[in-house]
């Protein structure tokens, strides 16, 4: 674990960031005539050339619709498309590719579970446990389900330091609790939740576990079998992959027992005018022409991350984050949300006196520095802290401590600029 007292070096000790940045074309762009400092990867990451090339190559040499075609292009496309699924399955330690269902994004993955598993299994009086730190993606689908099925929602509260308060698990994990859905890492607080412990508690209470891995899968090793969870949702675009694709992983027995979500081509076995039977996993949940090029791009992204190693990715980000927290705390009036560096992933959200986060981001943008401002799709979390919005700098493999220095220098300017 990096300590907070280390001195700035151009790369972290874990990763040759400067070499790696050459792989990301966008990082050579200038913004307002300054080199781009991209600190918004928690919203969406940038893409290495290898990912773009994989998709371009696919379109230029192989594209055809998958599964149904007898001709060479279709067979080759099918092989590449399913190989990408196997790669992603492997990346998260799934038993087998058929447990990985392609979706548009993490959000759709969670909605799939709410629609299919939720409507088939929940009855009035059943309860779903969430936390107060959930992204809207892991909140709104359950609200919609709850309104339809008269299921009740409970929420694990958050302590002032940004960690979950679960000292009384039995009160929240009642005998009627059927699902505990929580994020592995908060996209605002940065908090890394103890997935294994939370899962064990849920299972003791007889509840299933859905993990929102949108922020964990891109940034640290995740092994679904070791964690012993039941569902995992994540998005390619936050982990060097393209937009338009994400995945739901689920345990085979659960997925097998679930009714389909959307209907159409590919998800069927036999169709008659008035009734149909369903295909096997994973295709039962994939209706219509899938995001073929995107799946292949996702596979290439996972290859890129695997070549670095997720342990290295995580350690690099923790080092950057510790450094950032130390430097940010020196900015006048700046207050960091969330726990200390040892309990958090690669992002820091903060408020700065009474300067509106939009203005912080606006001034930084004029210096080429991209951070996010707003409620980051976590309004209830901001309500919990009594603030309308916050500013967030988030890091990935391509960020350097030198960029943190630019951020901090920029914030000093912001303070100066808006002082009365």
């Amino acid at each position: 674990m990096p300590t907070a007292t280390m001195t700035p070096i151009p790369n972290t000790q874990y990763l040759d960031v400067h070499a790696l940045r050459a792989d990301f074309p966008i990082l050579h762009r200038r913004v307002h005539d300054k080199p781009l400092v991209y600190l918004d990867s928690a919203a969406s990451s940038q893409k290495p050339q290898a990912v773009l090339d994989a998709m371009e190559r696919y379109y230029e040499t192989t594209h055809a619709n998958v599964h149904r075609g007898v001709h060479t292009l279709s067979e080759e496309a099918t092989v590449q498309y399913e190989a990408a699924r196997a790669r992603v399955a492997d990346f998260i330690g799934a038993c087998c590719p058929k447990e990985v269902i392609w979706t548009r994004n993490a959000t759709e993955a969670i909605n799939l579970v709410a629609y299919s598993w939720g409507r088939a299994n929940l009855r009035r009086g059943d309860r779903i446990l969430l936390t107060e730190m959930e992204h809207h993606a892991n909140l709104v689908p359950w609200q919609i389900l709850a309104a339809e099925t008269s299921v009740d929602l409970d929420f694990v509260p958050i302590a002032d330091n940004g960690t979950l308060i679960l000292d009384d698990p039995d009160r929240l994990l009642t005998p009627r609790t059927r699902l505990f859905a929580f994020t592995a890492m908060s996209n605002v607080l940065g908090t890394i939740n103890p997935v294994k412990e939370l899962t064990a508690a849920a299972h003791r209470a007889g509840a299933l576990v859905l993990v929102d891995g949108a922020q964990s899968v891109p940034h640290m090793p995740v092994n679904v079998q070791e964690l012993d969870i039941d569902f995992l949702a994540f998005s390619a675009h936050k982990m060097l992959g393209p937009t338009g694709i994400g995945a739901l992983w689920g345990r085979r027995e659960l997925l097998n027992a679930m009714p389909p979500f959307m209907g159409g081509g590919d998800m069927i076995r036999e169709v008659h005018l008035r009734e149909s039977t369903w295909n096997e996993l994973p295709w039962k949940f994939e209706a219509g022409t899938p995001a073929i090029a995107e799946a292949i791009g996702f596979g290439a992204a996972v290859d890129y991350l695997d070549a670095i190693g997720m342990d290295t990715v995580h350690r690099h980000e923790q080092e950057i984050t510790a450094y950032a927290m130390q430097k940010l705390s020196e900015v006048e009036g700046l207050k960091i949300l969330g726990p200390g560096p040892e309990q958090r992933g690669g992002l820091v959200s903060f408020i700065l006196g009474d300067v509106h986060p939009h203005d912080i981001a606006g001034v930084l943008d004029s210096m080429g520095i991209a951070i996010r401002a707003g409620h980051h799709c976590a309004q209830p979390l901001h309500e919990r802290y009594g603030i309308p919005a916050s500013a967030r700098a988030s890091f990935y493999i391509y960020n350097t401590e030198a960029e943190i220095d630019l951020l901090v220098a920029g914030l000093h300017k912001v303070v100066e600029f808006f002082s009365y």
Binding site: P357, H358, G362, V363, Q379, H382, P388, A389, F417
Partner: protein, 128 residues
């Protein structure tokens, strides 16, 4: 740093007409939940004309400057004139380029103004 031109910063730091009116004819409250911005707009109308205005609320520099500049501008205008206003009037006042995301900030005061004057019209309770 175009977005934060001298004049905008001045209106942000020293907003005109910030506060409350004693006896507003119209008040309207609006929010932009995306940003957590809020505005409370109060108008004093006499003979179908704005004779005084005040606002409070929280928001970024753009939205506060827009509210401040708009307040200065609309005093003396008739309700009919205000009904003609659109986003170009605000952007002209601000005198900067506003992108597709921050436009929501810039236009919040206008949204409140339009709702206030049209709401009135619909109730047919115009004049004093």
């Amino acid at each position: 740093m175009d977005l934060y031109a001298e004049e905008i910063l001045d209106h942000y730091k020293h907003p005109r007409h910030f506060g409350h009116l004693d006896n507003p004819t119209l008040t309207y409250h609006d929010t932009n939940p995306f940003c957590g911005d809020e505005i409370n707009l109060e108008l004093r109308i006499e003979d179908d004309h704005v004779v005084d205005v005040a606002f409070t609320g929280q928001g970024c520099a753009i939205s506060r400057a827009a509210a401040s500049m708009m307040s200065e501008e609309i005093i003396g205008m008739s309700l009919d004139e205000l009904k003609e206003w659109d986003k170009d009037n605000i952007l002209d006042l601000l005198g900067i380029e506003v992108g597709p995301v921050r436009i929501k900030c810039a236009l919040l005061p206008l949204k409140a103004l339009k709702a206030a004057v049209w709401g009135l019209g619909e109730d047919d309770t115009v004049t004093r």
